[in-house]
C-alpha cells in the first residue's frame, strides 16, 4: 500500500510537472478513441441492421390488391402453401400488416399513429424450406395467375448485397481500429519518454542506491494509465453525446429505410465506456512500458 501510494504520488507530480505534454497526449488519445468509437458505433449499427434485414426479409412477401377480399386472400394463401419448397405461407390482413409494422418499430411506433389511412397492403408471407430454394419457389409462385397479386417482393439479392457491404465495413473498421490503437500507444510512449528523460539523473541515482526496476517503473506506468484513463472518460463523454444527437437526427430516416432505429444509446455508452477504459488503460500501460524498456535494461 505504501508502495502504491508512493508511486501514485510520483505519477501525479510527473503529470503535473509535464502538464503540457500530458494534456497534449490526453487530447491525442481522446481523439483516437473518439474516432475509434465512431467506427465501433458504425460497426454495431451495421451489424444490427444486417441482422434485422436478414430476420425481416428472409421471406418472400406477396402484396395483394386492396380490392381482394380476405376470403380470397386466405384461399390464395392455401394454394401457395401447397406449392413445392414452401415451408409456410401466412396471410396478413391490412390491419395485421400495420400491427406487424408497429411491433417492428418498437419505441418509435408512435410515428405510425399519425397516419390517416392504413398504407400497408394485405400480405402473404412465404418462407422457403431452404434459402437456396427461394428462387425456384418464387418462379413457382409467379406461375399462379391471380389478379389479386399486386407485387412479389423477393429480397435475396438485396440481403446478399447488404451482408457483403457490412462485411467490408467491418473489416475496414477493424483495420482502422488496430492502426489507431498502435498510433495511440506511440503517442503515450513518446510522452512518457519525455518524462523519463527529464528524470534521467534521478533514475540513475535511484538505481545506484538500490531501487528495483519496478520501483522506478511504477510511477511511469501509472502516469501512462492515468493519461489513458482520462482520455477514455473524455472520449466516452464526447462520443456518447454525439451519438445522442445522432439518434435524434437519424432515427426517423432510418426507420423509413430500414424498418429499424439505431442501436440504443445506453447500449453504446455502456460498451464504449468499458471498451475505452480498457483500451485507454492498456494503451497507457503498454506505451509507458515501451518507452522504459531500453532505459531499464541498462
Amino acid at each position: 500500500m505504501k508502495r502504491f501510494s508512493y508511486a501514485l504520488k510520483q505519477a501525479f507530480s510527473q503529470i503535473h510537472r509535464n502538464r503540457n505534454m500530458s494534456t497534449a497526449s490526453i487530447l491525442a488519445i481522446t481523439a483516437m478513441l473518439a474516432i475509434l468509437g465512431i467506427f465501433f458505433i458504425l460497426m454495431v449499427n451495421v451489424n444490427m441492421m444486417t441482422a434485422n434485414v436478414e430476420e425481416q426479409f428472409d421471406c418472400v412477401e406477396i402484396y395483394l390488391t386492396d380490392s381482394m377480399t380476405e376470403a380470397d386472400g386466405a384461399a390464395l394463401t392455401e394454394q401457395i402453401g401447397g406449392l413445392p419448397d414452401v415451408a409456410s405461407a401466412i396471410y396478413l390482413s391490412k390491419a395485421d400488416a400495420l400491427e406487424v409494422m408497429k411491433t417492428r418499430w418498437g419505441d418509435n411506433a408512435y410515428l405510425l399513429d399519425g397516419l390517416v389511412s392504413n398504407p400497408f397492403p394485405a400480405t402473404i408471407e412465404v418462407k422457403a424450406t431452404d434459402i437456396e430454394k427461394e428462387a425456384a419457389m418464387v418462379e413457382a409462385i409467379k406461375t399462379i395467375e391471380n389478379p389479386g397479386i399486386e407485387e412479389i417482393k423477393y429480397y435475396q439479392e438485396e440481403i446478399d448485397k447488404i451482408i457483403k457491404i457490412s462485411e467490408y465495413i467491418e473489416t475496414g473498421a477493424i483495420i482502422l481500429i488496430v492502426v489507431l490503437i498502435l498510433i495511440s500507444m506511440l503517442v503515450v510512449s513518446n510522452t512518457i519518454k519525455i518524462t523519463v528523460h527529464a528524470r534521467e539523473d534521478e533514475i540513475l541515482i535511484m538505481k545506484y542506491v538500490g531501487a528495483t526496476n519496478w520501483f522506478v517503473r511504477a510511477p511511469f506506468l501509472i502516469e501512462g494509465i492515468v493519461i489513458g484513463f482520462i482520455a477514455s472518460v473524455l472520449s466516452t463523454a464526447i462520443v456518447g453525446f454525439a451519438y445522442y444527437k445522432c439518434i435524434d437526427f437519424f432515427t426517423p430516416k432510418f426507420l423509413a429505410f430500414f424498418n429499424s432505429g439505431l442501436v440504443p444509446l445506453e447500449f453504446i455508452i455502456y460498451n464504449l465506456a468499458i471498451i475505452f477504459a480498457a483500451l485507454g488503460i492498456c494503451i497507457g500501460a503498454l506505451g509507458s512500458i515501451l518507452s522504459m524498456r531500453k532505459f531499464l535494461s541498462a
Binding site: D201, E202, I205, Y208, V209, G210, T212, F215
Partner: protein, 229 residues
C-alpha cells in the same frame, strides 16, 4: 569484506582490469590510486554490478556478486553507499529531499525518514541547510549532501570515486575528515583519488593499479613508492 579473486574485465578486445585479486576487510579505509585509464572506476562498476566481470569472482560480505541474479542487484546496492566527483544531486529537490529520496527506495515511512535525514545532516554538518537547493550551496556542501545521501540507509561500505576532485584543498580536507568520521563509526571506505597530498597525509592502505593490474598494495602507504616509510 570485499574479495576480488582473479577478476578480468574486457571492453571489446581491450582489457581494463586483468587478473586482479584483492581483499578489503570490514572497517578498512582504502585508497585506490593509479593513472587515468588504469581501471579504478572499472573496479567500482564491477563491485556495484553495473558491469559484468568476464572472469574471476567478486564477493561482498560473503555474497557472490559475479553471477548474482538481476533481481538481487538492488538489494546488493543498498549495502553500498556511493559518492561521485560531480555530486549528482537533483537540482529541483531540496537538501532534505535529496537525502530522503534515497530512503523512499526502501519504502521507509515518513516517520522514520525524518529523524534519519536529520541525523545524517548533523553528521555532515548541514543541519541548518535542509531547505536549501543544491545551487544555493558551495561545492563542498554539495558533496556533503551527496555523502549524507550515500550513508542515510546505513550501508556497510561507502565507495567514493574522486570525491574531492572538484574541490579546493581546504574543502577537500573537510570532506576527508567527514569520511574519517564515517569510517570511525565502522563503515568500510574505498576511495578512488588522484590527490597525492591527501593520500600521503591520511596514511591509509593504498592500492595502486596500473593498466588493470595491482602494482602495489601497502598498509599506511603513500601516493608514490619512494616516499614509503
Amino acid at each position: 569484506m570485499i574479495v576480488f579473486d582473479n577478476v578480468t574485465k574486457y571492453y571489446d578486445d581491450k582489457v581494463a582490469v586483468e587478473d586482479l585479486s584483492m581483499i578489503i576487510e570490514d572497517g578498512e579505509f582504502v585508497f585506490l590510486v593509479g593513472k587515468s585509464g588504469a581501471g579504478k572506476s572499472t573496479c567500482i562498476k564491477l563491485l556495484l554490478k553495473e558491469i559484468e566481470a568476464d572472469e574471476g569472482t567478486i564477493l561482498v560480505d560473503e555474497r557472490e556478486v559475479t553471477g548474482m541474479p538481476k533481481r538481487l542487484v538492488p538489494k546488493h546496492r543498498r549495502k553500498i553507499g556511493i559518492v561521485f566527483q560531480n555530486f549528482r544531486l537533483l537540482p529541483k529537490k531540496t537538501v532534505y529531499e535529496n537525502i530522503a529520496f534515497a530512503m523512499n527506495i526502501v519504502y521507509a515511512s515518513r516517520r522514520k525518514i525524518k529523524p534519519s535525514v536529520q541525523e545524517v545532516l548533523k553528521l555532515v554538518g548541514l543541519e541548518d541547510k535542509e531547505k536549501m537547493y543544491p545551487d544555493q550551496l558551495s561545492e563542498g556542501e554539495q558533496q556533503r549532501v551527496a555523502i549524507a545521501r550515500a550513508i542515510v540507509n546505513k550501508p556497510t561500505l561507502l565507495i567514493a570515486d574522486e570525491p574531492t576532485g572538484n574541490l579546493d584543498p581546504d574543502t577537500a580536507w573537510g570532506i576527508m575528515e567527514l569520511l574519517q568520521k564515517i569510517n570511525d563509526a565502522g563503515t568500510t571506505i574505498v576511495m578512488v583519488t588522484h590527490a597525492k597530498d591527501i593520500v600521503d597525509r591520511m596514511e591509509k592502505r593504498v592500492i595502486v593499479i596500473d593498466d588493470g593490474i595491482i602494482v602495489r598494495d601497502s598498509k599506511k602507504g603513500a601516493y608514490t613508492e619512494d616516499e614509503e616509510i
